[in-house]
C-alpha cells in the first residue's frame, strides 16, 4: 500500500477515531495523540491492511484497544483530567444542554458510551459493537435503557424543577 492509497483510504476515518477516543478518554489532547499513534501503527502494518476487508471496523477496534491501553497506563491521571474537562464543558454549554449532559454522565459507563456514540456521534450499531466489544443486541438493549432513563430523568427535573 502506497502512502497515497493509505491516506486516501484511511484518513477519512480520523473523525470517527477521534470521537471514539474522546468518548473513551474524555480528553481532547489524548484523543488526538491516540489517533496519530493508531495511524502510525497502521502505517507500520500497511501490508497487513491489504488482507483486511472491513478496514473501518478494523480501525475502530485498534483505536479502542489503544484507548484502553492508555486508560490502563494513566488511570488515575485520566480520572482527574476527566473531571476537569466535564466541568469545563458544563460551563461552556447552555443550561439545557448541560442538564442533558449531566443526566448522561450519571448513567452506567456502558450505557453512557452507547448513547454518546450513537445519539451524539452517529456511530452505526456495528461500529459501536466493534468499539465496545459487545454484541449488537446488547448494544440495542443498553441504548434503549439509556434513552428511556434520560427521558425519565429529564421528566423528573422538568416536573419538580430539580
Amino acid at each position: 500500500m502506497t502512502k497515497k492509497q493509505f491516506i486516501k483510504e484511511l484518513l477519512p476515518l480520523n473523525e470517527k477515531m477521534y470521537r471514539l477516543s474522546y468518548r473513551l478518554l474524555n480528553d481532547v489532547d489524548l484523543a488526538k495523540d491516540i489517533v496519530q499513534t493508531v495511524y502510525c501503527k497502521l502505517w507500520e502494518d500497511k501490508n497487513k491492511l491489504k488482507t483486511i476487508l472491513n478496514k473501518e471496523a478494523y480501525v475502530i477496534r485498534i483505536t479502542k484497544n489503544a484507548c484502553l491501553d492508555k486508560i490502563r497506563l494513566q488511570k488515575t491521571q485520566t480520572e482527574v483530567q476527566q473531571h476537569h474537562k466535564i466541568t469545563e464543558q458544563y460551563h461552556e454549554s447552555s443550561e439545557k444542554v448541560m442538564l442533558v449532559k449531566k443526566v448522561i454522565a450519571t448513567l452506567p459507563e456502558k450505557q453512557r458510551l452507547v448513547i454518546q456514540l450513537r445519539d451524539v456521534d452517529g456511530f452505526s450499531f456495528d461500529e459501536i459493537s466493534k468499539a465496545l466489544d459487545l454484541p449488537q443486541n446488547t448494544i440495542r438493549v443498553s441504548l434503549s435503557i439509556a434513552r428511556k432513563k434520560v427521558r425519565e430523568e429529564l421528566k423528573k427535573i422538568y416536573s419538580y424543577g430539580l
Binding site: 484518513l11 454518546q116 434503549s144 427521558r151
Partner: protein, 169 residues
C-alpha cells in the same frame, strides 16, 4: 400520516433501540422544526442537546495535516534508513566484486602451484610406499615357501581319493 404521528411512531422505535441512523436523522429533523411548547418538548430538548454536543466536539483542524506529516515522517525515516543501509552495502558489494576479479589470477596461480607441489609429494610418497610394500612382500614370501613343502608332503595322500571312488562304485 401527519408530522406528529410520524414522530410518535419513530419515537416508539427510537426508545426500543430499533431505529436506523436514517430514521434517527429524520426524527431529529422533525423534532427540531417543532415549536418549543409541543408535546414532544422533552425529546426536542434531548435531540437539540445531542446536536449541540456533536458540534461542541470539534475535530481539531490540525489533526488531518498533523497525521499526514506523521505518516510522511515515518515513511521518510524508512527511506532514509534504506538509503543509509544502501551506502555500506554498495561499498561492500563493490569491494567483493573488486576482490573477485582482481584477486582471481593470483589465486589461480597459487592453486596450481599448490597442486604441483602436492603432485610431487604424492609421487614421492607413492614411490616410497610401493618400495616398502615390495620389501615386506619379499621378506614374507619366504614364509609362504613352507606351504609348497607341505603340499609336496601331502601329494602321496592323493591315492586316498582313488580308494574312495572305488569304494563308491
Amino acid at each position: 400520516m401527519d408530522c406528529n404521528e410520524k414522530i410518535e411512531s419513530l419515537l416508539e422505535k427510537y426508545y426500543l433501540g430499533e431505529t436506523s441512523l436514517e430514521e434517527e436523522k429524520k426524527l431529529k429533523e422533525l423534532l427540531l422544526t417543532l415549536p418549543d411548547d409541543s408535546k414532544f418538548e422533552l425529546e426536542k430538548e434531548m435531540f437539540s442537546s445531542y446536536n449541540q454536543q456533536e458540534e461542541e466536539l470539534v475535530v481539531p483542524s490540525s489533526l488531518e495535516t498533523d497525521t499526514i506529516s506523521v505518516i510522511s515522517e515515518q515513511s521518510d525515516k524508512k527511506v532514509k534508513i534504506r538509503k543509509l543501509l544502501w551506502i555500506p552495502t554498495t561499498i561492500a558489494a563493490s569491494w567483493l566484486l573488486f576482490m573477485m576479479f582482481y584477486k582471481q589470477p593470483e589465486k589461480e596461480t597459487l592453486i596450481l602451484a599448490e597442486i604441483f607441489n602436492k603432485e610431487q609429494e604424492a609421487y614421492n610418497t607413492t614411490k616410497e610406499t610401493l618400495f616398502y610394500v615390495s620389501k615386506v612382500m619379499n621378506s614374507e614370501l619366504g614364509k609362504i615357501s613352507r606351504l609348497d613343502k607341505m603340499e609336496q608332503h601331502l601329494s602321496p595322500l592323493s591315492y586316498l581319493d582313488r580308494i574312495d571312488t572305488h569304494l563308491k562304485e
